[in-house]
Amino acid sequence: MATSILDLSAPKALDGADSDDFGLVESLRTGAAQAYEELLARFQQPVYTLALRLLDDPSESADVVQEVFLKVFRNIGAFRGQSSLKTWIYRITVNEAHNARRWFFRHRRKEVELDSEPDDARNWKDVIPDGCLSPFDAAFEREQHVMIEAALAKLSPIFREAVVLRDITDMSYEEIAEVLGVSLGTVKSRILRGREALRAELAGSLQDRLAPRLVPKTAE
């Protein structure tokens, strides 16, 4: 029953990607314009997605992405190919997000945002609905994303990183272990516990929304 809807295929081999990475890194070291364009084309979207899901703040995520690519460009000479380029960049992203989160809690936690709706700050092109979805589907999906983002924000950063890397960026357990710098067993444990915690958060938020709020009042 369950096998029909599960993707049980083995993780993809990375040999081809590794050879591409090697050429790309070499081109970056020689300053080829095409290599810089290719790097941005390949990684700016996933890196932004990862940062956004880890931080849940578009402006903060944009700063993190910029910092990540600055580090990538500056340190490409030090990249030895011991891990894949993707893993290396994601590791920088996770570390930068971690630093940004710490900085946020130290400095900006007490700030009050004037714009209560983050989407207002976005370009209209970013928030225009997809024409392929019906209004109901779009609204449902959007609502679902908001709930998941809220639930992710409540997770511990350790579990959140593991779940985001696995379920959103679709990295393998081995890649996650490299990115986070932990053992494979720890990755499995964090993913399991993170998913459970997320499920519990989502279930709790659904119950809050669906439960009728009856406020007892005394008869006058």
């Binding site: 300053g31 979207q45 932004y48 944009a62 460009f73 696995r166 379920d167 959103i168 998913r195």
Partner: protein, 246 residues
Amino acid sequence: MSCENAQELISLLLDGRLPDEERENVVAHAGICRECGTQLAALQTQRAALRKMAQAPVPEPLATRLNVLASHERERQLSRVSIRERARRMAASADLVFQNLMRPVAVPVTGGIFSTLLLFGLMMPNLSFSHTNGGYDFSTAPQGSLVATPWDLGADDDAENFPVFASPDQAKSDYVNIVNLTIDESGRVADWSIVRGQLTDEMKDIIMFSHFEPATFFGIRTQGTIQVWQGLPPCKYAHCSATVRG
């Protein structure tokens, strides 16, 4: 298989990391256990929902910033790789600094030069300088001459007794009356003093009514001195002249 074991393995099952035998056991357990089946379905739905969040669109300003960043870093990388590129970059930076310095100055300076030339060209026809030097060179002693007197010199019967003008530098003659006249810049007598004898009526008339061409010094009118002699002999009054010392 217990529910506790199955729930721990469901996560690995979702990621396809279970051996075939173990996978079949977990799937079979989920099929008969309501709680584990619900959990598997919930995690599948949750995972599918998370997958849909993988394509967050990159904001346009961020994409632009990243392109600019890549461009700058590429330039930086090139300058590290090649000395020639580094020199070119330094030259470009120097050129940029020079342009930035000169551009605010260039327009006012050019405008100032052109407006100065234009105004000076317009004023040139109206600019005139007096270079009167009596026909002498600038380095020679300035000269002055009698312009007008109230008398008609040629018709005067007593012409022999008429005063003559001389330079104070000239040697004193036998004239009885000698008077020094100070002529100002406008050609009038500004002052007089008696050198010898007395002041005659003719001398008074000269002081009162005559007009001299003033002395000049390098073409500029200046004060000068002239002497009037009267009382003796032979003189041709018709061409009386004076040398003026500036």
